[in-house]
C-alpha cells in the first residue's frame, strides 16, 4: 500500500503531500501521524499542501482530524502552502476546518510551531531539552562545526 512519507526534523514531523490524494491514502496518513507522534514524542506537525490543486471536504476533514488528534497527543499542527484558488474554493464549499492553523509558507509554518513550542516549554520547570527546539536546529556553528573537517590525508 502506497503511503505518504512522514519525516522527522528535530521535534517536528513534516509531511509534504505530493500526490493527488486517494481517500484511502488520506486515512492512512491520519493513522501514520498518530503513531509517529506517539513514537517520536513530536511536539509539532507541519503539513505542506502546496502541491494540492484542490482540497475537497474529504481532505479538509482529514486535516481537521489530524489537527484535533495531534492536539490530544500534545502536538500542534500547521498546514502550509495552501494555494489561493484552493482557499477561495474552500470558503464557497463551506469548509472552515476548525482547529487547523495555517501559514502561507514553510518558513512561517516553522516559525509558528517554534514559537508555539517555546511558549509551552517556558511553562515547564525543566528546560534542559531546549536543544530539541526547531529554532535551535539551524547552522552548526562554532568549534563543533569545524571539528569534522580536519583529517584529509594528502
Amino acid at each position: 500500500m502506497e503511503r505518504i512519507p512522514v519525516l522527522k526534523l528535530g521535534n517536528l514531523l513534516l509531511v509534504s503531500i505530493q500526490v493527488d490524494l486517494e481517500d484511502r491514502l488520506a486515512l492512512n496518513l491520519q493513522d501514520d501521524l498518530a503513531e509517529r507522534i506517539v513514537a517520536t514524542g513530536a511536539r509539532g506537525v507541519l503539513i505542506d499542501i502546496s502541491a494540492l490543486d484542490i482540497v475537497d471536504s474529504f481532505v479538509g476533514r482529514m486535516l481537521s482530524t489530524i489537527a484535533a488528534m495531534s492536539k490530544l497527543l500534545d502536538a500542534e499542527t500547521v498546514v502550509v502552502g495552501m494555494r489561493p484558488a484552493v482557499a477561495i474554493t474552500l470558503v464557497e464549499l463551506g469548509l472552515d476546518m476548525p482547529g487547523v492553523r495555517t501559514a502561507l509558507t514553510l518558513e512561517h509554518g516553522l516559525a509558528l510551531l517554534g514559537a508555539e513550542v517555546r511558549v509551552r516549554r517556558s511553562d515547564d520547570t525543566d528546560s534542559a531539552d531546549r536543544a530539541d527546539l526547531p529554532g535551535s536546529i539551524e547552522e552548526p556553528t562554532g568549534p563543533s562545526g569545524t571539528a569534522v573537517a580536519g583529517t584529509v590525508v594528502g
Partner: protein, 150 residues
C-alpha cells in the same frame, strides 16, 4: 424528484456539446482521482479561470465520491458545452443506487447519512453555475452540473 433550475429537458437553450463527451466509470477510489483529472483538462480546454477550474474540479470530486460511496458506483459523462456566447464544462454523474429520500435534507449544509461533513451536495451546488439533481429509488441518482467561462 428533481431539484434545480434546468428542468428535465436539461435547459435546452443552455448548451450544445462542443466536442465528444467522455464517459468514465466510477467504481473504485482511484476513479475519483481520474475524474478530477479529466474535469481539470476539460476546464482548461473550456478556458475557465484558475479559480473556476478549481471550483469545478472540487465539485466533481465531491459528486464522484457520492456516486461511489452512496450510489454504489456509477459513471460520469464530461463534455465541453457552448451556449453561443460562452464555453463551459458539463459533468453528469449517474448511479442506479438507492436514491435520495429527501433532497432538501440532503442539500442542507452539514447533513450526512454517513460520516462525511455533509458539504458535498450543498457545497458543490454553490461552486457551479448550474446544478440539477434527480433522484428516485427506481432510477437512482443523477446530478448534472455546469461551470461557464466568464
Amino acid at each position: 424528484m428533481t431539484i434545480g433550475g434546468l428542468g428535465p429537458q436539461g435547459g435546452g437553450a443552455a448548451s450544445s456539446s462542443a466536442g465528444s463527451p467522455q464517459r468514465h466509470a466510477i467504481v473504485v477510489e482511484s476513479d475519483v482521482v481520474r475524474v478530477r483529472q479529466v474535469v481539470r483538462s476539460a476546464a482548461v480546454a473550456a478556458r475557465l479561470s484558475l479559480v473556476d477550474q478549481t471550483k469545478m474540479v472540487t465539485a466533481a470530486s465531491e459528486l464522484a465520491r457520492n456516486t461511489l460511496v452512496y450510489g454504489g458506483g456509477g459513471a460520469v459523462t464530461i463534455d465541453i458545452v457552448d451556449n453561443g456566447r460562452r464555453r463551459g464544462v458539463r459533468a453528469v454523474f449517474t448511479d442506479s443506487g438507492p436514491g435520495i429520500a429527501d433532497l432538501d435534507l440532503a442539500l442542507t449544509d452539514g447533513w450526512t447519512s454517513g460520516s462525511g461533513l455533509g458539504l458535498g451536495l450543498s457545497g458543490s451546488r454553490r461552486l457551479v453555475d448550474e446544478f440539477e439533481l434527480e433522484s428516485s429509488p427506481e432510477t437512482g441518482t443523477t446530478v448534472r452540473v455546469v461551470k461557464w467561462s466568464r
